[in-house]
């Protein structure tokens, strides 16, 4: 085939879009960076591994079952989730990770010329899916590290279909209280859908942190996202979901991909859901890890943003992408925040105690080692 024709087939907004390159496997990275082991603190995973019931299920799984298709619409799991969340099964739609669910919603509501509104420094996938679907992503700057009601409202117009609020926000950990969310919903009115991404809801231990689902009867234009990747430690199985009013989910179901959630994921999620002992254990691990980081940053005089979430943001006095490379050499993989429009910051996922101790030592070594002058300056005549 002639490649020139291929170019002509591709919509402009796809042509302009740069594909995301995920990181290579650990062994490749270890070989490249010369480290004997690699601790990933870049994806906000739960270091405890899945809850015991889910782990037991996975261990006892009969491989013969994988020759059959899974439940196409995750029926047993939806029934269980509905019960757990106090909604009806048809109000729940599952996807191959919350990421897929974001795509379902954008596809269901937006066409070219429409726009979505969200913050400039938040989870990137809303903006990405919008852009490669030919939908404008309007970004309101954060205010004091949090979603800014005024900035968001100022960007909404008649072509705004969706407003994405990440609550709590990845990467800053900031969140809107129930009152603040209600005030925003009232000011916005019923003519736009508000997506509340609650990927980290299970980590939140604050009395006025809102449970979006409880507001559905008052605001039927709300959609809530949740995932099994974070608290429930099933990131590798890829499963997340949305909850909305039946009116809304009837529409989103049209663009949802059936059979996209596999058998293992459905059953493991069923086993994991609602394990309070596990949730409590994870929360206390996160709290301890946050405290260790905060203490280390205080000693190094580095600004830090901590929260109930399983990640913290740290401001470095030099380039975050350089810090990433130097930490990789020591076997720690963090997330650079330049890509989140926070140059000079890194986001660190809370890991187990030993890993946190190791990371704190590595961070301290890194900060102390960076001096103003590179040793090469003299050799190559750089002034």
């Amino acid at each position: 085939m002639n490649l020139c024709n291929l170019e002509a087939l591709v919509p402009q907004y796809v042509r302009q879009f740069e594909a995301y390159i995920p990181s290579p496997p650990d062994d490749e990275l270890q070989q490249m960076f010369g480290c004997s082991r690699l601790i990933r603190m870049n994806n906000n995973e739960n270091p405890l591994g899945p809850p015991p019931a889910a782990a037991a299920f996975l261990q006892s799984f009969d491989p013969a079952l994988v020759s059959r298709y899974p439940s196409g619409d995750c029926r047993p799991l939806r029934a269980r989730l509905a019960d757990y969340l106090g909604v009806t099964p048809s109000q729940v739609i599952l996807g191959n990770g919350a990421n897929e669910v974001i795509a379902f919603v954008i596809k269901a509501f937006c066409q070219q010329g429409d726009n979505i509104v969200t913050a400039d420094r938040t989870f990137a996938v809303y903006e990405w899916i919008a852009r490669f679907s030919g939908v404008d992503a309007r970004l309101a700057p954060l205010n004091d590290f949090g979603f800014d009601e005024e900035g968001l409202l100022a960007r909404v117009d008649s072509r705004t279909k969706l407003v994405f609020i990440c609550n709590p926000n990845n990467p800053t950990g900031t969140w809107w209280s129930r009152d603040r969310l209600i005030r925003f919903m009232e000011r916005l009115g019923p003519n736009h859908i508000v997506v509340l991404d609650e990927a980290y809801a299970e980590f939140m231990d604050q009395p006025d942190y809102p449970d979006g689902i409880s507001l559905l009867s008052r605001f039927p234009n709300l959609i809530i996202f949740r995932t099994f990747s974070k608290m429930y430690a099933l990131a590798g199985l890829r499963i997340g979901y949305l909850v909305g009013t039946e009116q809304v989910t009837d529409i989103v179901r049209k663009t949802a991909i059936v059979y996209s959630v596999n058998t293992l994921a459905q059953s493991a999620a069923l086993a994991a859901l609602g394990d309070q002992t596990f949730i409590t254990a994870t929360r206390s691990l996160v709290q301890e890890g946050q405290q260790m980081l905060a203490a280390q940053c205080a000693e190094l005089k580095l600004p830090i943003l901590t929260s109930d979430c399983n990640f913290a943001m740290i401001k470095l006095p030099f380039s975050d992408t350089l810090a990433y490379r130097l930490l990789m050499q020591q076997g720690y993989m963090v997330r650079t925040m330049t890509g989140f429009r926070f140059p000079g910051w890194i986001r660190v996922s809370i890991a187990g105690r030993e890993a946190m101790q190791g990371f704190c030592t590595a961070l301290s070594r890194l900060v102390h080692s960076r001096t103003d002058q590179s040793p090469l300056a003299k050799v190559y005549g750089v002034f």
Binding site: P24, M32, S319, L322, Y324, G339, S374, Y380, V382, F383
Partner: protein
């Protein structure tokens, strides 16, 4: 505007008329229009003799500050004619063709050749507009304590900035295109360039920087150029961070900063080497925008010390293979994309193909550039393209020295080599 035409001499008037009307619509004055038409004539004739009868597309791009004519040639002609080396041989037709290209490059401000992503070659002739010299003198700059940053400043503030640069910095510390003010404004309007300015409480100019995002994955950045802030370090950091933020979630892989003064490390730039230009040396910094996962690199033995030193200083994860010339068959011929800037005396050679004739072709280019009094010649080799390594020993033998490393600047990392005029 676009013209499809066959490469036969009879079609030349059509092509020249196209060039003239393009130049006029871009607002070029009569002398520049004539020069562009002349270059077009020469280039077209050269192409006619190289690939007679082929169908080509001539496109016009109005850059506001310049008119570009882009000649897109589908199949590779005899690529040697693109090496704009001298020794025109008046006896043969081939010689005349080479001469034509040489003349074409003389009458325009930039002449370059590149291989297009989807096949074919594109030759660019650029003629820039002429701008009146500035009348406004730089105003005195009161000390500024607090500032606000803007990325869409009023034209008058941009003019003040242009005057600040011209008056307060040595000519070697900024690209000449940032003055006069009219040219800078047109560059910004072309959208290839952007600006970040800092203003004090009364709207007074505190400083700024300019970026240039042309093709490729890097953004070239210049500055910060400061007026008289009370906290120069803080302002430098604020400007650099704003710049980095702007490209943080983009398809660009890195920023290369050409700075009149080395910024503090908190600004986020790492030393990347230095740039020797006529009249001085510029500190260059590098800012990677993405998380990198490491790469393979092929490097000539001769460049190994430079490369490994910089990799370790920049903490780059590289599987480095020493590339040694064992006499294996390379590409048949060597081809440079040449970018000339006559007014600054700078010439940039980018190897597109490196073959067994590399040494001879390089020598021809250097002779021509010397004759034409280009005082600074730059060449890059790409660690992602093993055959580039064949070129390195010849560059070093002819007075080039490695000066700068730009990770991910090409297929792999780009090693910039410089040769100051007469340093052979």
């Amino acid at each position: 505007m676009e013209l499809k035409v066959e490469l036969v001499p009879e079609r030349m008037p059509v092509v020249v008329a196209f060039a003239e009307s393009a130049a006029k619509s871009a607002g070029l004055a009569a002398p520049e229009t004539t020069m562009l038409a002349l270059s077009t004539e020469e280039l077209f004739l050269a192409l006619c003799s190289s690939i007679p009868g082929a169908g080509i597309t001539v496109r016009f791009q109005d850059r506001r500050y310049a008119a570009d004519l882009l000649f897109q040639v589908p199949q590779p002609p005899d690529l040697r004619i693109f090496n704009i080396t001298s020794r025109p041989d008046h006896e043969t037709e081939e010689g005349l063709a080479e001469m034509g290209l040489f003349l074409a490059s003389r009458a325009c401000d930039q002449f370059s050749i590149r291989q297009m992503e989807l096949g074919g070659w594109e030759i660019m002739l650029r003629k820039e507009r002429n701008y009146p010299a500035p009348v406004q003198q730089s105003q005195p700059h009161p000390a500024v304590q607090t500032w606000q940053l803007t990325t869409s400043p009023a034209p008058d503030l941009v003019k003040q900035f242009s005057a600040l640069i011209a008056d307060s910095f040595a000519a070697c510390q900024f690209p000449e295109e940032f003055t006069p003010p009219g040219r800078l404004l047109d560059k910004l309007a072309s959208n290839e360039y952007g600006i970040i300015l800092a203003q004090g409480e009364q709207g007074e100019l505190a400083g700024g920087l300019i970026w240039h995002a042309d093709e490729g994955r890097m953004v070239a950045c210049f500055g910060p150029y400061l007026a008289a802030p009370t906290e120069p370090e803080q302002l430098t950091i604020a400007l650099c961070e704003k710049l980095t933020e702007q490209f943080g979630r983009s398809n660009r892989l890195g920023l290369v900063l050409y700075a009149p003064q080395q910024p503090p490390v908190a600004a986020g730039f790492e030393a990347a080497g230095s740039l020797a230009i006529p009249g001085g040396t510029i500190w260059t910094g590098y800012r990677m925008l993405a998380e990198e996962f490491g790469a393979d690199a092929a490097v000539a033995t001769e460049l190994m010390p430079f490369y490994t030193d910089w990799c370790s200083s920049m903490a780059l994860a590289r599987n480095i293979r020493a590339y040694h010339d064992d006499g294996e068959t390379a590409n048949g011929l060597t081809l440079f994309a040449t970018r000339l800037n006559r007014s600054t005396g700078m010439a940039r050679l980018t190897p597109l193909l490196v073959g067994r004739d590399a040494e001879a072709v390089l020598e021809e280019h250097l002779q021509l550039l010397d004759q034409e009094q280009f005082s600074a010649i730059y060449c890059t080799v790409d660690t992602g393209r093993p055959f580039d390594a064949l070129l390195a020993p010849h560059l070093l033998k002819r007075g080039f020295t490695p000066r700068m490393l730009v990770p991910w600047g090409g297929t792999g990392d780009l090693i910039h080599l410089h040769r100051a005029g007469g340093s052979r």
